[in-house]
Symmetry: C2
Subunit: 413 residues, 2 copies
Amino acid sequence: MLIRSAFLIQNGSLLKDIDILIEGNRISEVGRDLRPNDDEVIDARNMLAVPGLVNSHTHLAMTLLRGYADDMELIPWLRDKIWPLEARLRPSDIRAGVRLGCLELIRFGVTCYNDMYYFMDETAAVTREMGIRGVLSGVLFDMRPELLDDVEPFIKKWRDDDLIKPAVGPHAVYTCSEETLLRAREISERYDVKIHIHLSETRDEVDTFVNQRRMTPVEFLESLGFLSERVVAAHCVWLTPRDMRILAERHVNVAHCPISNLKLASGIAPVATLIEQGVNVCLGTDGASSNNNLDIFEEMKVAAVVQKCAAGRPAILPADAVWRMATENAYRAFSLDIGIRPGALADLALINIKRPWFTPETSMLSHLVYSMAGGVCWTICNGRVLMRDGVIEGEEKILEEAQRSYERLISEE
Amino acid sequence: MLIRSAFLIQNGSLLKDIDILIEGNRISEVGRDLRPNDDEVIDARNMLAVPGLVNSHTHLAMTLLRGYADDMELIPWLRDKIWPLEARLRPSDIRAGVRLGCLELIRFGVTCYNDMYYFMDETAAVTREMGIRGVLSGVLFDMRPELLDDVEPFIKKWRDDDLIKPAVGPHAVYTCSEETLLRAREISERYDVKIHIHLSETRDEVDTFVNQRRMTPVEFLESLGFLSERVVAAHCVWLTPRDMRILAERHVNVAHCPISNLKLASGIAPVATLIEQGVNVCLGTDGASSNNNLDIFEEMKVAAVVQKCAAGRPAILPADAVWRMATENAYRAFSLDIGIRPGALADLALINIKRPWFTPETSMLSHLVYSMAGGVCWTICNGRVLMRDGVIEGEEKILEEAQRSYERLISEE
């Protein structure tokens, strides 16, 4: 496959007429006037090529609950709406929700997502079928100890897959015992897989924990020897200066989810400070029931502007730093060999820049972060075209399937 | 013109198969199975019809400066980048910038915008040509007293136009003398036009004013008898409880610009409180050099989620309230007879809802505010189709013209 005459951002400059040659699932050459290796030649004259984006914290099946309950206080929202509906979810709903979510991720040029939810085997199968990468962990709660039984079989089943990276997902320190957390760590070491956990998301949760344990959730995890470069910690809104130093020292990856944190009134994570301290910060949308979409571009913009206001400094968290949160930082967190360079995995998106929000051609990186309002036309993952000039095969059927699943779910209310 | 089989939101419910008949520049009928009145029949089977959106605070010509200078502190940004470039703007640049801006507004279903800038005669001519409504005011600064001379001729020239509403635009209390403000008020009364002003945008500006005058900017305007339902005050970030009561009592309209306020680190306006107190709050993107786009949907989402977090209450500023800020509240502020009902101006947009972010069909209002990521396919203003199934006539030429204008501007640096 040859991508012909794309724009490319390199060291902050916009290059024109760049060809990208793809052989199998990898990029083999990047340069000018390359020769096609087969019949698939993509005319990218108006397109900017960007490496595949990563959504670092999702609950993808919950895309099925989008808009089902908004503008509610946290506890009634969970207790009266989300949990009862979740209790009725069947494997077919999970498939419908994950398909809908993958569809949306592909529309935003995302080629890898990091997920924690139930029915991970269904999620993995659908993700594979849709053609994107998933770092997938079944959620672990002590209230449902049987969930732990699925972890190792799931890892063994999927660990050699080229798209799926199985992982382990203890929900949080306030829902998992010390034993569960240690078991998760032990499994992650034994199989060399990532750990996905929610950490210090709300003030209440942290205050309650500190009152009971006389240490912060981060200090507690540190005391267990839980923290390492394998850990991806979502949210991290309420951190002490000591917490931040620990996260930096242990090379923990943080998945920042600014829109979810705002919408649920959780707070504003100290991201600019975390980055200054050397923490690897990635970006996630969280589930569509608390966002309500999977638009990683919108997430970038909100991340940047909210930090500026919180710090009172418009120069903080510039476009290039926030772009890295959705790309390079995530590649590091999830050990992904992605980038527009020879030898890298062929994960990339082509974005039509002949649109008002990319005009004039000042700084394309700034446009991607601050003005982008659509335009991803092609998404390629692992060398396979998933969206072709705006069209994703089977989209209509997926939308109908999601609608039917949702109607059945609410008919049982 | 007949719009056939659209979806329509009425009192929170989603109606299907609704026909909308347009005669001249007005809607003549809304109902089922209407008969076409001419050859123009729009198949809207997958489309949601919404009334034209309003962007209540812009500097549209500045769209030309999009991405030219980001991630800078306010003073160096203005002094070293924006002001020098603005000083070189020619009428042809204004035309290019306004055309680019109108193009973008049309793409977001906006049929009216409220603008303050230089070269308003050029702006009005281009806005008319592009086919949308503009409430337009030439900015007034005491440092350029000659600007005042243009106000009355501009009003007289455009006041009978069906798309352009001329207005008067004293920049702010710290840039206009008492005399200028009183003159603006007097002109607005004499010609019955709106007043567009920046008000209490940054903390520094308010603190400095209070130190010098021993009253807040709002109290000062109140003491001049300046405030009325004719006034549209942009920003209103730093208000005292007394300021808010005054704005409510005087029926002042507030144009809230959350993204600009975050990006420039100005702060978070007390919008939820303003609404509780009965102030009519609208929504604006501000200029594209501080946002960096004109996406009114993104602005709605950010407005909602930021208020929730600032108040610590996820139930505050729900989707319907924020939707009104971009529609009904603005119709009131600008005296626009818009709505999807017989007799109203034919200003509307058709949005394709067969997209992932509108699935499942839970609450369309929630989807419009919280998940919308593209899909406006048709924009109709004053009975004229401005975007037809995603295509705006002359778009490519407008993008090229903007690029050329920008290149000339920076070549003179």
